[in-house]
Symmetry: D2
Subunit: 135 residues, 4 copies
Amino acid sequence: MSTTPKLNDGISVELRVRYCECDPMRVAHHSIYPVWMEMARIELLRCQGRPHHLLEAEGVHFVVARMSMRFRKPARYDDLIRVHVRMDCSGRIKVNHSYDIYRDEQLLAEAQTTLVCVDASGRPRPIPDGTLART
Amino acid sequence: MSTTPKLNDGISVELRVRYCECDPMRVAHHSIYPVWMEMARIELLRCQGRPHHLLEAEGVHFVVARMSMRFRKPARYDDLIRVHVRMDCSGRIKVNHSYDIYRDEQLLAEAQTTLVCVDASGRPRPIPDGTLART
Amino acid sequence: MSTTPKLNDGISVELRVRYCECDPMRVAHHSIYPVWMEMARIELLRCQGRPHHLLEAEGVHFVVARMSMRFRKPARYDDLIRVHVRMDCSGRIKVNHSYDIYRDEQLLAEAQTTLVCVDASGRPRPIPDGTLART
Amino acid sequence: MSTTPKLNDGISVELRVRYCECDPMRVAHHSIYPVWMEMARIELLRCQGRPHHLLEAEGVHFVVARMSMRFRKPARYDDLIRVHVRMDCSGRIKVNHSYDIYRDEQLLAEAQTTLVCVDASGRPRPIPDGTLART
């Protein structure tokens, strides 16, 4: 038995809600959640051994093709937020991720994305072997 | 027969992609689309006769509860973009919208949102009669 | 005598303050003003006959080296804002602009920038002849 | 003799440049620097013993009245940035800060701001005693 988080279970990143990310309703604007999700997803890539900027230098880019989000509770200025990201499945050119966004133990939002691997000019290309290794 | 756009058919807003909305891939970052969608949705509200700031002054706010997006083609810096928004259906406290985002006649992205009506403190409340009139 | 605006006198662009550009104080966050200024400055470049994306394709980029701003009155959500930009002077590799930001006749903010011309790799280079023509 | 950092000498915050903060030139857009500066400034306030949200609850807000920035070197995606902020002087209703922004030991940008203390409706008001204590 192990309680050690495995990469298979995904990773979490923590961040603090910025003042300018909040709108006149005094809550984080919903358009900032995809930014937080991207930060977590890129960090997952780094843990998988392939830093984002190295992949880009090799002409391997990922673009978001689909995104769905459900907002349950608002995040507020200065809240410490935890974004948990998990790779659900990957195919030849696509990869799916799931996200859970928490403040303490409270679930604020859930999301899913589908990314497509493209080359520097934006054309779909196969994901190179080992890019998304889940060792 | 009429080719005049009816409010039932929604409205379109045009905007130009800003330089800082584009990322190192030289395309509009996906997190900016919800901002464009909100601009169109608020304009629709204005056309429905209830400006957003008046509603807020009356304690009528709408928060995004669900959002799904499909990205088909990238938008690039300085592109002139047309965001078409349509109200799909509304219930007692929720309202659904659909969005199509174009550059010229090319469909770049599609999206749907579900908004929930809340009061100033964020608690769900009924949508006041006439707020989303589709005359 | 002529009341026709001359390019020497600069140009103005109009824009509407977006909801997500406003912070919990219900005013446009100060970090959005440089974005508005850039929009006006790029439009001035377009009027000077050299669209920004063509210049970039030729390896002519401008980066902001200095910026100073004075904020006099807040801009609020949905305000219609007018950003007036004027080229003050240009040298071999630098160009200075001034900005006045208005709501109706009320001056909200003033700003100045110094831009440096750089090549695609970010190294300073001379501004090509005719780029900033003030005919 | 002490090498312990004193509050008088200011504080530093570290942050990583986000992908969407970078523009097609592949560098952090200049409009994000005021956001980073605000993060550091608010953290300084927290160290001075008065968290930003408590001040706001008491009707004590600070708005940026003046800002000047000098950009020396670009910041790039995924760079680890250190923003050092120092309170220069404060008067009855105004306070001045200076900022130095580094990547490792390299100075990327310098900036200064003047903030004005205002009440919830935006009218200037005296800074309450002890708000900016430099013990």
